[in-house]
Structures are given as structure tokens and as C-alpha cells.
């Protein structure tokens, strides 16, 4: 595919603006750039064709099955897009007087009310822009809490080795050091390990439940109790909430604060890598520390309000507002029966596919029932046939399917993490299982062949080592 710059022809352009109606103003030359930016010069049809071609080489949920574990690639309802495109939302200046944005504030307030009920939290901010940003925010809440009590020796955040990489990275951003604790043989928190890890320096624990291997930790109440008794707080990484919405609430599990990934659980599109939205909910004892501003409701209407001991701002303005509008549309659509039904559907689909793949001969890292996702262990297959998790994943591409998440969580070395979501049909799962079966047979027949997969994609496997060794991060004109 040609790059935009390679399609450029001098003089091609679109006519978009009228002539300037005010006298031309000139700034002194020393304030101006020496030459125009070398942007491409294209007519509108050329821009359209370019991006149409790029779209054809992009794979979204709308293109096919996308069981990317931990990412909850469910269908993104069309109505959500319509609501987020309403001019009454898109054309609002963020610094308009409060009295002129009551509908926007109502939408934000309603979203927080609904999400607080779903998670069992007392207060919420919509400011964080993604899951990792939510983690950072939640950890700052924990930090502010301890500091407000003069409890300044609490400098450590406990993170299980099954956690997502953003967890420890966010903990360091928040000024903590990280204590990694190993998982037990079932992939859950090792209680003895946790008891040994907690102490007067414990600020808190970060956990996702169900965890990253798709298992609901049966000891969850004991876990949060151990942390609380040691004086720490518990943070819930909401990436896996799709397993338990309307069935169980992090607030009832003993968590003090949480983030949600609206771009996972609440059906907002991922956009090829964002924008997401990572609202952070907390219990009452942390509410006074929430970032500025939060939306409050009084008799006169809705207001933006700075919590009394606010930790400050996490970004400018109020968050990824249009993403929140999509999520609000979704929650209102599903309602009190639809929310748990979605989780039930997600868990049923995951177990159905897990059983099918296990019956085909794939090894499960943690056999038995799972929640909304499961992890396959390709280790034995690799030893026997040479076909690794990567090879299975790459071969799936040939069949028009997005592969599962590879090599995560780190506690399973040849991991393929599968999350079908509730919006896939039994027929899609059956068809997927058939493909997985074929690939397993291929691997057993000739594991070497899979090293060259994929065969039918627009490009073969890219040279990633070369890309990192001699980085080319932008186009430059040929000399």
C-alpha cells in the first residue's frame, strides 16, 4: 500500500474554507516557519481511497471473531455511535457556563450512578482516559488516604505475578514500590504468600477478580481482609468485570476502589487503540480525594465540584465524554436484567468453547470451569510438535479469525488467552472450534510448517527485531 506521502501530487487539494473575510494580518517573519510543513497534497477522492484501502487491511470486531483475552472485544452497538454523534454533545465547548450544559452533566451523573450501583461503589470520577490511567488515579487515592492519616510509611503495593503490566507500572507512577507475589497452583492468590507480604509498609493490593486466568478467587473475602487488617487498601482492576456484572460486585468483595474499562465491559469501541475511558469508583472513605472535578446534583441542577481533599487533576477537563455517552447508552439499553444476562452469556460462551477446545486435545492451563475467559497452555504441544502459541495464533489469521491474547498472563509460558464474549453465537463458536481443530491436526502432522504461517494475509510475519534495531518511525522523502 502506498503511503499518503507517496500519493501526493503538487497542487492537489480540497476546497474546504471560504476566503478570509477580515484584513490579512502578518506576523513578523522571525516568528514564522521557514517553509510549509511537508504534508501530503491530495484531492478528496485520493484521501478517501487511501483510507478505504487501509480499512480493508484492518481487522475489527465487525470483521470477525475476536476472542482477544482480557480485552472483552464484544460487539459495539450502532446506537452508541449515533448517541455520541448528537450535536448537542459534540458541539459543546467544555468551558461553557454550567447552566448551558445541564444535559451533559446529567449524562455524566447518570453514568456514575449506574456504574456505582453495578460495582458497589459510593463515588466515582469519569476523568481517567483508559484502564491504566484509572489505575494511576486509584493508587493516588490510596496514597492520599494514607497521607491524610499521617500513615506515611506505607510505600508498597502488592501485585500478583499474574497481573497485567500496567498494574506495577502504575504503582511506580504513583510513587510506590512494587512487591510481586507468586500465584498458587490454581492461578489464585497464595494466602500464605500474601500474609507474609503484608505489613506496616503495605499501602495496598491490586487485583483483578476473576483473575487473568479466568478464575474467580474463592478466597477473595479472606484476601481483602488480610490486606485491610494489615492497614492496606484494596484496588480492583476492572478489566475482567464482564464476568460478574450484576452477579457480584467488587464493593462487596472488600475492594476500596476500582477502575472500569468502558472500552471493554461497556461496549465502547476500541478504535484501534483508544480512546478508552477508565472511570474510577471508590468507597465513601476515599471520595474526598477524588480528582477535580466530579459532578454533583443539587436542587438547582448539576454542578462540577472539587472534592475537599482532591488529589488534583488527572488530565484536562472531564474525561473522554463521548466514550461515557456510549457506555451510558449501553447500560440503559441492557438495564437490570440485561447486565447480568450479558455476564452469564459471556461465562457460558467461554465455558462452551473451553470444553470444545479441551475435547479437541488442547491443554488448559487451569482445567475445570472458567469465568469469562480461559487460558490454554501450548507448552506440551510445542515440545511435541514445535508449534508454539505464536504459531497457532499466526495460523488462525489465515482462517479470518483474530487470535487470542498471546503470552499473557506471564505465569503460563505458552499462553493463549481466549475470551469469546457474550455477543458471539453458538454457531460462531462451533465454527471457531472447527478451525482450532484443523490447526491442531496441522501442528501434529507437521509442526514446522506452522513456523511460516500466516500464508494468506497481506504480509507475512514482519521482522520485529529489525524494526527495533534500526527504527524507522516516520516517512522521509527519497533523496
Amino acid at each position: 500500500m502506498k503511503l499518503l506521502f507517496e500519493r501526493s501530487t503538487v497542487g492537489h487539494k480540497s476546497e474546504l474554507l471560504p476566503c478570509c473575510s477580515t484584513p490579512a494580518y502578518e506576523l513578523p517573519a522571525d516568528l514564522l516557519r521557514a517553509e510549509a510543513p511537508a504534508l501530503p497534497q491530495l484531492a478528496e477522492i485520493e484521501v478517501e481511497r487511501h483510507y478505504t484501502e487501509l480499512a480493508k487491511q484492518t481487522f475489527g470486531v465487525n470483521d470477525g471473531f475476536y476472542p482477544l483475552g482480557s480485552c472483552t472485544m464484544k460487539y459495539n452497538p450502532s446506537i452508541n455511535e449515533d448517541m455520541a454523534a448528537l450535536p448537542g454533545f459534540t458541539k459543546l465547548h467544555p468551558l461553557q457556563p454550567e447552566s448551558t450544559v445541564q444535559g451533559a452533566l446529567e449524562a455524566m451523573y447518570t453514568a456514575t450512578e449506574l456504574l456505582q450501583e453495578i460495582t458497589g461503589m459510593d463515588a466515582m470520577t469519569l476523568q481517567p482516559s483508559a484502564g491504566a490511567h484509572g489505575e494511576y488515579t486509584g493508587l493516588l487515592l490510596i496514597r492520599a488516604y494514607h497521607q491524610s492519616r499521617g500513615d506515611t510509611a506505607r510505600t508498597k503495593i502488592i501485585v500478583p505475578d499474574s497481573a497485567h503490566g500496567t498494574n506495577p507500572a502504575s504503582a511506580v507512577m504513583a510513587g510506590f514500590s512494587v512487591v510481586n507475589i507468586p500465584s498458587d497452583e490454581k492461578g489464585c492468590v497464595d494466602l500464605d504468600g500474601l500474609r507474609k507480604a503484608v505489613g506496616p509498609d503495605t499501602a495496598g493490593l491490586m487485583l483483578t477478580n476473576p483473575n487473568t486466568v479466568g478464575i474467580f478467587d474463592p478466597n477473595i473475602l479472606e484476601i481483602t481482609k488480610i490486606v485491610h487488617e494489615a492497614g492496606g487498601l484494596c484496588y480492583y482492576d476492572g478489566a475482567n468485570l464482564n464476568a460478574v456484572m450484576g452477579m457480584a460486585r467488587p464493593g462487596d468483595m472488600g475492594f476500596d476502589c476500582i477502575h472500569l474499562n468502558l472500552h471493554k465491559t461497556f461496549s465502547t469501541p476500541h478504535g484501534g487503540g483508544g480512546p478508552g475511558s477508565g472511570p474510577v469508583g471508590c468507597k465513601a472513605h476515599l471520595a474526598q480525594f477524588l480528582p477535580t472535578p466530579v459532578v454533583v446534583k443539587t436542587e438547582e441542577g448539576y454542578h462540577l465540584h472539587a472534592p475537599e481533599a482532591s488529589l488534583g487533576r488527572m488530565r484536562s477537563l472531564y474525561g473522554n465524554f463521548l466514550v461515557v455517552i456510549r457506555a451510558l447508552t449501553y447500560v440503559l439499553s441492557l438495564g437490570k436484567e440485561g447486565i447480568p444476562a450479558a455476564s452469564q452469556g459471556a461465562v457460558l460462551n467461554a465455558n462452551y468453547l473451553m470444553k470444545k477446545l479441551a475435547d479437541l486435545g488442547y491443554d488448559m492451563a487451569y482445567p475445570g470451569f472458567c469465568m469469562h475467559e480461559f487460558v490454554m497452555d501450548i507448552g506440551k504441544l510445542k515440545k511435541e510438535t514445535g508449534a508454539s502459541a505464536m504459531e497457532i495464533a499466526k495460523r488462525l489469521l489465515d482462517y479470518g479469525m483474530h487470535p487470542p491474547t498471546m503470552y499473557f498472563p506471564l505465569i503460563v509460558h505458552e499462553a493463549l488467552m481466549v475470551e469469546p464474549t457474550e455477543t458471539e453465537s453458538k454457531e460462531t463458536l462451533d465454527a471457531a472450534a472447527e478451525v482450532y481443530g484443523k490447526i491442531l491436526a496441522e501442528a501434529k502432522e507437521d509442526g514446522q510448517r506452522l513456523h511460516d504461517a500466516p500464508f494468506n494475509t497481506p504480509i507475512g510475519r514482519p521482522d520485529e527485531v529489525g524494526a527495533a534495531r534500526q527504527p524507522i518511525l516516520r516517512w522521509t522523502p527519497a533523496e
Binding site: 506521502f5 480499512a55 507500572a169 502504575s170 451510558l328
Partner: protein
């Protein structure tokens, strides 16, 4: 209502049977029973028709101004029709981060093109794939400048106040000292900066045009930073770079900013686009995703996520930032915008902003009580005095469908873009005259 679940009850029953179960509830037996939710206290689900009506009613409660003279970090620009047409393509919209390069060349190439255009605009060597917004981009830039013996960030007081607050949040938790440099006549004074700088400061941040719309002496500020071995970080508005001198040209080490002016709707504050560009020397300190060019086994050009050894999923607690999902679709929006504007279109748009703002400023300043607060060169924002309570003034303007400038200390911060033609400005001036005469 349906939860977008295609399976019928019969299909679900068949699936349960294959698992040897009779009820889906059994799959939740692993959850301690005392914790199971009986029912959620939220409304019952609604049909698409009803939800559409409810959200539309909320949208309709907001006031949409036909004329906007307010900026202060969010700008009312024309968005070419093609921008939405491209960014609503469901392939782009519904894809995850492009982890599987073989089926993601489209989105990867679009990011590579975005990175290139950000470099072209800023005059810098490299760009990342985006971060959450301009304020977090500025905060991440400070973190990029941390060295073993250099920590403190000296920040111009003429930065957007939200940016300053976010920098304070990000630096506060890491123990990075932040010093705010007082503003003099709306500007950052290079001599005062030099006097304030210490030999072990890590970086200087200034904004151009600054929060008050004024053009800083970027050369001198950059030089002052470099004189003590500190990095210079320029916070810039990409629209203005259609004509303004680039951070690369004045020697900045990092250029960051809010990409919203590039085709992204104001949308009550988000989603927006944090862009970050840097010199080659700082390439490996950039946070977030970066796309690079390589080849496949057959020698075809290919694009991949690269330099991942910097990132959280590899480095975990040693990563410099936890950013994972970024603002990819907003970066695509900016790229489509820039591709359809082209170099001439962008320069023309920037010049219209400049000319309209100067016409507005000169006309407004003629009204008694509305004198210009500063006399430095400005771009498309400027502060005037206000003879009456600014809130009251804005109420009067709102009655006529005009969103007036933002009340700030000492007056009102106005903004004019290509959307504010001479008629609009003349009408504004007429109303201001009436108000002033009362």
C-alpha cells in the same frame, strides 16, 4: 434489552447440556453465596427507540452556541466532512490495538503516517502514537527528562492552568519538584527564567502561543534551558504550526500538545489527543505505543508496534509510563484532517485564525473599557479588559447565541478561529458596544 446476545434460550440450553449443567447459575457457584447480587438497583432495560429518545433529550438540554469566541484549550474549528466519514469506518472503529501486524497493516500504517505528520508539523525527529490528552502529554514530557542528577521541572506560569495541575499531579507522586515561573505581562521572561534556573534542573516547559494567546520568545527560552543543560519542552497548538516557527527550528528537545484542533470535536472535553514528538536522542524515552517500518520475509514493506522494550507489558514496574490504550482513533482523526487540509489548507486556516483574531482584537479594543491587556504579538487568542462583570456580559451574549470569551484574571480571554468571520465579529462588537454604553 437483549444485551446484544444472539443465542436463543434453546441454544443456551444446548450449550449448558454440553457442559453437563442445567442452569447458567451453576457457572457462578464459585462465587461465595453471601456475595451474590440478588438484583441491581438500576432501571429496566430499554428498547433502542427509548434509549435514543432519552439520550437525545439530554443532548437537547444543552445550549448550542451558533457563534463561539471561546478557546482556552478547546477550539471551534471547521471539521471537513471526510474526517467523520473515514473515522466511522467500522474496521478502524472496532479494532483493538494492532498486536497482530499481519491483519492490522491498515491501522499500523495510519499511525505511521500520523507520526510522520506530527514530525512535519513540529519539526521534530520522532513522534509516538499518542497519549490521553495535551495535559498528560506535557506531564509525560517532564518524566522523559528525568536524569539521575536532574529532576526539577521549571514550568512557565503562562501554561494552560489544567496542564500545570496535571503536571503537578504526575510529578507530585514521583517526587519530582515543580517550580512555576511567574508570568510578566502575560509572557514568560527569558531573563527571569535564566535567573530561576539551577544547574541541576531537568527541564523547562513553556507554551506557544501561551494560555493568553501570546507568542513567547521561544528561541531565548530554549537557549536559557540549554545553558544549564536542562531540556526544553514546548507545548504547542498544532493548528498554529501551519505557519509558526517550529519547536524543531528553535531547538526544543520535546514538543507536545493538545491535538483537538485537528478535526476533533470540542465534545465537552473529550476524547482529545495528546501528541508527543522528540529529538532522535530522546526517542527511547518516549512513552506509549510507537509504530515502526520493517519488512516481512518476502521483503514487503510492513509496519509493526516497535521499541516495546520501553513499555509496561515488557518492563512492568521498570516502565516509565503505564499508558497502554491511548487515543488511536483521535490520532487517525488528526491524520485524516491533515491529509485533507494539506500544507496550503492548514496554512490558510491558521492565517484566517490569525487575521480574524486580530480584526476582532482591534475592533473590541476600540470600545471603551475593553482595552487589550497585553501588547505582545499574539495568535488567535487575546485578553481584553471588561468594564462590567464578565459573567454578566456573557449572559447578554448568550441571549444572542454567542459564547463569549472566558473570564480570566484581569478580563476576558477571547478566541477567534476561521469559524468567526467578519460578520460574526462585527455583530459581537455591536453587542459589546451596547453593553458598554449601558
Amino acid at each position: 434489552m437483549g444485551g446484544y446476545i444472539p443465542n436463543s434460550a434453546a441454544a443456551q440450553q444446548a450449550m449448558l447440556e454440553s457442559l453437563g449443567l442445567t442452569s447458567v447459575q451453576q457457572l457462578f457457584d464459585c462465587i461465595p453465596s453471601e456475595m451474590l447480587v440478588d438484583h441491581l438497583n438500576i432501571p429496566e432495560g430499554m428498547s433502542e427507540l427509548e434509549v435514543g429518545e432519552m439520550l437525545t433529550a439530554m443532548a437537547d438540554k444543552n445550549k448550542r452556541f451558533s457563534t463561539v469566541f471561546r478557546g482556552a484549550g478547546a477550539y471551534n474549528h471547521y471539521i471537513p466532512s471526510i474526517v467523520k466519514a473515514v473515522t466511522s469506518k467500522k474496521e478502524f472503529l472496532t479494532a483493538y490495538t494492532p498486536y497482530q501486524a499481519e491483519i492490522s497493516q491498515g491501522v499500523l500504517q495510519s499511525i505511521f503516517e500520523y507520526q510522520t505528520m506530527i514530525c512535519q508539523l513540529t519539526g521534530m525527529d520522532v513522534s509516538n502514537a499518542s497519549v490521553y490528552d495535551g495535559a498528560t502529554a506535557a506531564a509525560e514530557a517532564v518524566v522523559m527528562c528525568q536524569e539521575r542528577k536532574r529532576s526539577c521541572a521549571v514550568v512557565s506560569g503562562a501554561l494552560n492552568p489544567h496542564f500545570i495541575e496535571v503536571i503537578q499531579t504526575y510529578c507530585g507522586s514521583r517526587g519530582i519538584p515543580v517550580e512555576i515561573l511567574p508570568v510578566q505581562n502575560g509572557l514568560t521572561d527569558p531573563a527571569a527564567l535564566s535567573a530561576a534556573l539551577k544547574a541541576d534542573d531537568a527541564c523547562v516547559l513553556f507554551q506557544n502561543p501561551n494560555y493568553y494567546g501570546l507568542l513567547e520568545n521561544c528561541d531565548a527560552l530554549t537557549e536559557a534551558a540549554h545553558a544549564v543543560g536542562a531540556k526544553a519542552v514546548a507545548v504547542v497548538n498544532p493548528m498554529t504550526l501551519g505557519i509558526l516557527k517550529t519547536p524543531g527550528a528553535y531547538g526544543a528537545d520535546i514538543a507536545v500538545g493538545e491535538g483537538q484542533p485537528l478535526g476533533i470535536p470540542m465534545a465537552f472535553g473529550g476524547p482529545y489527543l495528546g501528541f508527543m514528538a522528540a529529538t532522535q536522542a530522546m526517542m527511547r524515552k518516549l512513552p506509549g505505543r510507537i509504530v515502526g517500518q520493517t519488512t516481512d520475509a518476502k521483503g514487503n514493506r510492513a509496519f509493526v508496534l516497535t521499541l516495546q522494550a520501553r513499555e509496561q507489558h515488557i518492563r512492568r514496574e521498570k516502565a516509565s509510563s503505564s499508558v497502554c490504550s491511548n487515543q488511536a482513533l483521535c490520532a487517525l482523526t488528526a491524520a485524516v484532517y491533515l491529509a485533507s487540509m494539506g500544507p496550503d489548507g492548514l496554512a490558510d486556516c491558521a492565517k484566517q485564525c490569525l487575521s480574524n483574531a486580530h480584526y476582532a482584537a482591534s475592533e473590541i479594543a476600540k470600545i471603551p473599557g475593553f482595552g487589550l491587556r497585553h501588547n505582545a504579538p499574539f495568535f488567535h487568542e487575546f485578553v481584553t479588559e471588561c468594564p462590567i462583570c464578565p459573567q454578566l456580559l456573557n449572559e447578554k451574549l448568550a441571549e444572542k447565541g454567542i459564547l463569549g470569551g472566558l473570564p480570566v484574571e484581569g478580563g476576558i480571554l477571547w478566541c477567534a478561529t476561521e469559524m468567526n468571520n467578519k460578520n460574526q465579529i462585527d455583530r459581537l462588537v455591536e453587542i459589546l458596544k451596547e453593553v458598554a454604553a449601558q
